[in-house]
Amino acid sequence: MDRSGELAISDFDTYAVEEALKLKESAGEGEVVVVSMGPERAMDALRKALAMGADRAVLITDSALEGADLLVTAKALAGALEGEAPDLVLFGQQSADGGGAVLWAAVAERLRRPVISQASELTVDGASVTGKRQTEFGYDSIRAPLPAIVAVSDAINTPRYPSLKGIMGAKKKPQETVAPSAAGDAATTVVELSPPPPRGEARKIEDDGSAAEQIVEFLAEKRLV
């Protein structure tokens, strides 16, 4: 897998950054720290979050983390978060590359904290956080005491664009690179890669007034009607 390209902050994570900034703004106090794991050049991606308004960045980096799976990533992140001791940890909806929506629950388990996922609304009220969770069946309202872990959905807000001033200021904000406090071996393996099976021959027609009939014929051929 070629991972040499420019590393960008995942679009999904910008929703979490935006929500954290909004919470800080409405509370009138607090600190927003962005934490990621990856090679050293991943700090460039974190700088976008700093440009949006986050206060400082922490990058967990170590060559031992290359090829990290869920368990290794969760351990490394939980280790860094224990040191930071935040009131609230926000995640984006899913990682853009792996497509998996699982990391927050593993981190919450490591930290032994409550977790709310797929939150499309979030309110923090003193010592607790309430999230509106989107599921296959509708919406759930879930409340958890702080400190808590929340994964936000991309329906929660519209992330701001960094201003020029923000971009210029980002460079001067604290950016720390740390080694993982705990590393372990991956518990999943890639055995083999192969191309996906090809689709059958595609047919394309222009509607000449008989498209509906042609579709039904096609469906009948495939035994679908």
Partner: protein, 311 residues
């Protein structure tokens, strides 16, 4: 031979089809038992033809993941299961990930197959198929919805009680309210036929075209992110990167351009038929039958023809 425990997620008194499909897959490659967690769920557990553990307790009534991790982790340790499998859902993914961290077990997700030792998962927006394995003593896997058919289980039902011993942090989150969308017809995860609508429908009222065709075909209605965001259709019907992944026998795309974010949610469908007035729409690149034309003229006729054929 794998000794597998399958998380049987239930809703409205019925086990999700996706979870039953995973159970029958697991039963075809080894011993497979189920676990049902909730309150008043003994009858649900008794409906499945294998050994089913039931944690029937008011404290695990709400569909929250962390108490489920407690119940399943104890079963794995006490009963010696080496594999725990889930069908994809918000609840299942959170439960599986928490369980992986609890048991130091590897988690592979997006599975479409499992042979007892290895799994298969299309990755990187389905551009590559990966044979995945586990190096931990316990394997945890999440299957894509719609990737498997429900097979017959030949065993006999036996309901056994699972202990409910909960960690403090597992019960910290509490369910205040569950507002469930009204479901009309089959859910898109369970449907063999899906008719999906996009911006090309023109206006929200025109979703009736998709609904009528779906009803004629005996299927469910899905929607793209664009129209869900615009408030035309509920999120529970959204297919794509930030919605559901489906793989029905037939997927009919009405007025959908076929952006990659939508494609990843439905390209596993057996047969794809697309109707779009833009001859250059990307959806035609991965449709089995592409129709360039006005869906507002074609779909009502198509619905009539399908109805006539079925009656």
């Amino acid at each position: 031979m794998a000794k597998t425990l399958v998380f049987l997620e239930h809703h409205d008194g019925a086990i999700q089809k996706n979870a039953l499909a995973v159970l029958s897959k697991a039963a075809s490659v080894g011993d497979a038992h189920g676990v049902v967690i909730g309150s008043g769920v003994r009858d649900v557990a008794a409906s499945v033809n294998t050994t089913v553990w039931v944690a029937d307790d008011e404290r695990v009534a709400a569909p929250l993941p962390q108490p489920r991790v407690d119940v399943i982790a104890k079963l794995v340790r006490d009963e010696g299961y080496d594999t725990v499998l889930f069908g994809q859902s918000v609840l299942a993914a959170d439960t599986a990930a928490g369980l992986a961290a609890r048991l130091d077990a590897g988690l592979n997700w997006g599975l479409v197959d499992f042979d007892g030792t290895q799994g298969r998962a299309p990755q990187l927006q389905d551009t590559v198929v990966v044979e995945v394995g586990w190096s931990s003593p316990v394997r945890i896997g999440i299957f894509r919805s719609g990737s498997l058919d429900v097979g017959e289980l030949s065993g006999a039902n036996e309901v056994k009680d699972a202990a409910v011993e909960l960690e403090d942090f597992s019960t910290a989150a509490e369910m205040l309210e569950q507002a469930h969308a009204e479901q009309q017809g089959p859910s898109i995860e369970d449907a063999d036929v899906i008719v999906a609508g996009g911006r090309g429908l023109g206006e929200p009222e025109k979703f009736s075209l998709a609904e009528e065709l779906a009803s004629a075909l005996g299927g469910a209605v899905a929607a793209t992110r664009a129209v869900v965001d615009a408030g035309w259709y509920p999120y529970s019907a959204q297919v794509g990167q930030t919605g559901k992944t489906v793989s029905p026998k037939l997927y009919v795309a009405l007025g959908i351009s076929g952006a990659i974010q939508h494609k990843v949610g439905m390209q596993g469908s057996n047969v794809i038929v697309a109707i779009n007035k833009d001859a250059n729409a990307p959806i035609f690149e991965f449709s089995d039958l592409g129709v360039v034309g006005d869906l507002h003229e074609i779909v009502p006729k198509l619905t009539e023809l399908v109805r006539a054929r079925k009656s």
